[in-house]
């Protein structure tokens, strides 16, 4: 009986370790720390709410404050290597990939700040 229990524990442990190995942890590189518009915990949980709220204000009313704007996020969080918030190690995409949450902002919005986009043009 004891042997059976021990075998079970081993199997479960192996299963768990496998489960952890399956998905890579997101790469969160904050290149300009301490300058975010809200605390990290707040941003992790609620960034989508801020963005949704800001989007209505900007689109419908023409209020273009920088604090919760998507362009503001991109401006600060775009990688210095790729110039983008997308890509495997991109600030937005790596986390969204890990959490399996579809990220469709950048089908329309620029994933690079203006200066990088301008430099990339031929």
């Amino acid at each position: 009986m004891l042997r059976l229990a021990a075998a079970l524990v081993v199997v479960i442990a192996a299963g768990l370790s496998l489960a952890y190995a399956r998905t890579d942890k997101p790469v969160v590189v904050i290149e300009r720390p301490g300058q975010c518009v809200e605390a990290t915990e707040v941003m992790r949980r609620d960034h989508m709410k801020f963005l949704l709220h800001q989007r209505e204000r900007t689109m419908r009313e023409g209020i273009r404050t920088k604090a919760h704007s998507l362009a503001g996020c991109v401006e600060c969080h775009a990688s210095t290597k790729t110039g983008s918030v997308l890509g495997e190690q991109g600030f937005c995409e790596s986390c969204h990939r890990y959490a399996s949450v579809k990220l469709d902002c950048f089908e329309c919005h620029a994933s690079k700040p203006e200066r990088v986009a301008a430099r990339a043009k031929p």
Partner: protein, 244 residues
């Protein structure tokens, strides 16, 4: 007058002029009529244009080129499906043979048919009279494309990349002239097409606030005869034409 004396006089004159232009208590931002970023667009303003077709040169498409550059519209080599926010049309009076041309874009109607027909509320008119598409709620049904008497709306058929940060655009949504809303909100007080027309020396496009009697566009509208395209529809367009 000696050369140095003349220079001295000009310098004094320029200083005196600068003193008049920026009087105490008046900031440049007020002169430009710009809003603060946290201030919502107001119905006190109605943005519009006067297009003087007598000044618009046949064969010149600088306004179209400038619009494409400003808003990140690229030529895909498939003109039948490419988005088109502004186009040049050539007009000819068959009796007299008089030819002229004019740019046509979204007329930013006060009573926009595209807003009436939109099933999701994506097509809307902002407080300051600019007619826009909220692409977050646009389902790409293209009713507005059919409803617009000016053929001002385009549908985006293909995936896009390299959009301008100030001008989000994407597949499956309808779009049209935004009256360079990002420039207006920034306080530029002009549009890409009007700037380009001025740079080309034509000054056929005059942009400004139709509600402000002192604005250049209002003053010009008072002086010369102008019409609204398809005025029979009584849409009260924000873009007016003269010389048609």
């Amino acid at each position: 007058m000696s050369d140095s004396g003349r220079r001295g006089f000009l310098g004094t004159a320029a200083a005196a002029l600068a003193g008049v232009a920026i009087a105490p208590g008046i900031r440049l931002i007020e002169i430009a009529g710009a809003r603060a970023p946290e201030e919502a667009a107001s119905a006190k303003v109605r943005w519009g244009m006067l297009i003087d077709t007598a000044k618009c040169a046949t064969g010149c498409a600088d306004c179209v080129t400038a619009c494409n550059r400003e808003n990140g519209l690229h030529d895909t080599g498939r003109p039948r499906t490419d988005a088109q926010w502004i186009r040049k049309i050539d007009l000819k009076d068959l009796r007299t043979g008089r030819q002229h041309s004019a740019p046509v874009m979204c007329q930013h109607c006060a009573e926009p048919p595209c807003v009436d027909v939109c099933p999701t509320g994506a097509s809307f008119k902002r407080a300051d009279g600019i007619v826009l598409v909220d692409k977050h709620t646009c389902i790409g049904c293209r009713y507005c494309v059919m409803a617009c008497p000016y053929k001002a709306r385009s549908f985006v058929h293909e995936n896009l990349t390299d959009q301008r940060p100030a001008v989000p655009r994407g597949k499956g949504t309808v779009e049209g002239c935004t009256l360079c809303v990002h420039k207006i909100d920034r306080g530029d007080g002009t549009t890409a097409c009007a700037e380009a027309c001025k740079a080309a020396g034509h000054e056929a496009i005059l942009f400004g606030d139709l509600n402000d009697p002192q604005s250049a566009v209002s003053q010009r509208l008072r002086e010369i005869p102008s019409i609204q395209l398809r005025s029979d529809l009584r849409l009260n367009t924000g873009v007016r034409y003269s010389g048609i």
